[in-house]
């Protein structure tokens, strides 16, 4: 039976997903081994049940990210923190340096101070998710099985980890395969 694979894009730039697409011809082998059940590159709206492996790109930045993450944890056997934003919170977490209250100040800065037209903070309950007080790496919110660092992780590194998982060995990256940045 095919491995049910999901990939998720939280607070990140999608660079990790671009790197995933850089797997080139390995993607063809992958299609034989996995079924992609949820991903920014497939049109599935609801995160499904019984997912075997989920690669999570991005830091946990807003309430939607957090809600989806809890759902993923309940419905997924193996979670992989995919890329530096997921592993360290990386660039999205730079706003944490502004301390508590940064949520208001970054919105103010982006949508009022630097706005050229119609300065106003976008607010639509149920549509625009609220920012969390503090951006978190994925493992701070839910348990994570494996870590795949890199900004973005090069395709060879993704291939190494996914390849290990598919061949049934305990995934383990070493040396430069663990380089951040």
């Amino acid at each position: 039976m095919k491995v049910r694979l999901a990939t998720v894009w939280l607070g990140g730039c999608s660079g990790c997903h671009m790197s995933f697409l850089d797997l080139d011809e390995f993607l063809i082998d992958l299609v034989d081994a996995v079924e992609i059940v949820y991903s920014p590159v497939v049109d599935v709206k609801e995160y499904p049940e019984n997912v075997d492996v989920c690669l999570i790109e991005g830091a946990v930045c807003n309430e939607d990210n957090l809600e989806l993450l809890h759902k993923i944890r309940q419905r997924t056997k193996v979670i992989v923190s995919f890329g530096d934003c997921a592993v360290t919170a990386n660039v999205p977490a730079i706003r944490n340096q502004l301390g508590l209250g940064n949520r208001e100040s970054v919105l103010q800065h982006a949508y009022i101070t630097n706005a050229q037209d119609n300065p106003s903070v976008p607010k639509a309950d149920g549509i625009v998710p609220q920012l969390l007080e503090r951006v978190m790496p994925v493992h701070e919110a839910v348990h994570v099985e494996y870590f795949l660092p890199g900004c973005p992780p090069p395709a060879a590194r993704i291939k190494a980890l996914v390849g290990q998982m598919l061949s049934g060995v305990e995934p383990k990256l070493e040396g430069t395969q663990l380089k951040f940045g």
Binding site: D84, P137, C151, T176, K179
Partner: protein, 240 residues
């Protein structure tokens, strides 16, 4: 000078009296991870990455400030040491804002290299995300406190190689930080000779040449070694 015989990782070694365990290991070709150590300046044991096990001593000792002794049995690699080195590295990453992806030293950083070579795939501690500034008041150099690991290499080269005494450490605990003269903007310092040795000494992206962008800050440690060799041995040669 008297010689001492000891073993490092089971290998019999002879070292000069007064040599450090780190020097003895280095001469024997045994690599111990270091961060605050810099060839050419004295050691302070600040980073705790070179901790080793010595038979008969319950606590771990820093190889860079522990002198060799007759009959000493040193272990540089064990489950316990790997565990503590990883803890030390993770705490360093959690303490400041080490955002490798956008750092001037990305790809040329000793902290980054240590992290992956010691198998650090994530940080188990909550990041502090402290608020630190970047001092770009100097004409040539910048200081980004977000990337500083307080190894004090810059302070040591400034005082003991250049002899200027511009750089110093102020504060306590997590608020410790590198200052220029009496905690003034670097560009206003009277004592700084603009020699740039501190920039060459820095292991991370904390000190940089102005104008360097992500991953561009490469250093030439050989320059420091060249100066120290010239002073101590009166030889104007590079190590290689």
């Amino acid at each position: 000078m008297a010689a001492k015989t000891l073993t490092i990782d089971g290998k019999p070694i002879t070292a000069e009296e007064g040599a450090t365990v780190l020097q003895a290991a280095d001469e024997a070709g045994i690599k111990i991870p270091t961060l605050c150590h810099l060839d050419g300046v004295y050691d302070v044991g600040a980073c705790r990455l070179c901790l080793v096990e010595v038979t008969g001593v319950a606590k771990l000792l820093p190889a860079c400030t522990t002198r060799v002794a007759e009959g000493m049995e040193v272990k540089t690699d064990s489950e316990r040491l790997r565990k503590y080195r990883r803890i030390t590295l993770e705490l360093l990453f959690a303490e400041r804002n080490h955002v490798c992806a956008v750092c001037v030293a990305n790809g040329h950083c000793e902290l980054q290299t240590l992290a992956y070579s010691q198998g650090m795939d994530h940080v188990r501690y909550e990041y502090l995300f402290p608020k630190w500034g970047v001092d770009t008041t100097h004409r040539l150099f910048g200081m980004d406190h977000n990337r500083c690991v307080l190894c004090t290499r810059c302070v040591r080269v400034c005082w003991h190689v250049e002899g200027a005494g511009t750089k110093n450490v102020a504060g306590r605990g997590t608020r410790s930080h590198i200052i220029t003269d009496l905690a003034m903007p670097w560009g206003e310092s009277d004592s700084c000779t603009q020699c740039g040795k501190c920039v060459q000494a820095c292991p991370t992206g904390a000190l940089f040449h102005k104008g360097s962008t992500t991953g561009e800050m490469e250093r030439d440690r050989g320059k420091l070694e060249f100066i120290v060799t010239a002073r101590e041995k009166k030889q104007w040669v590079t190590a290689d």
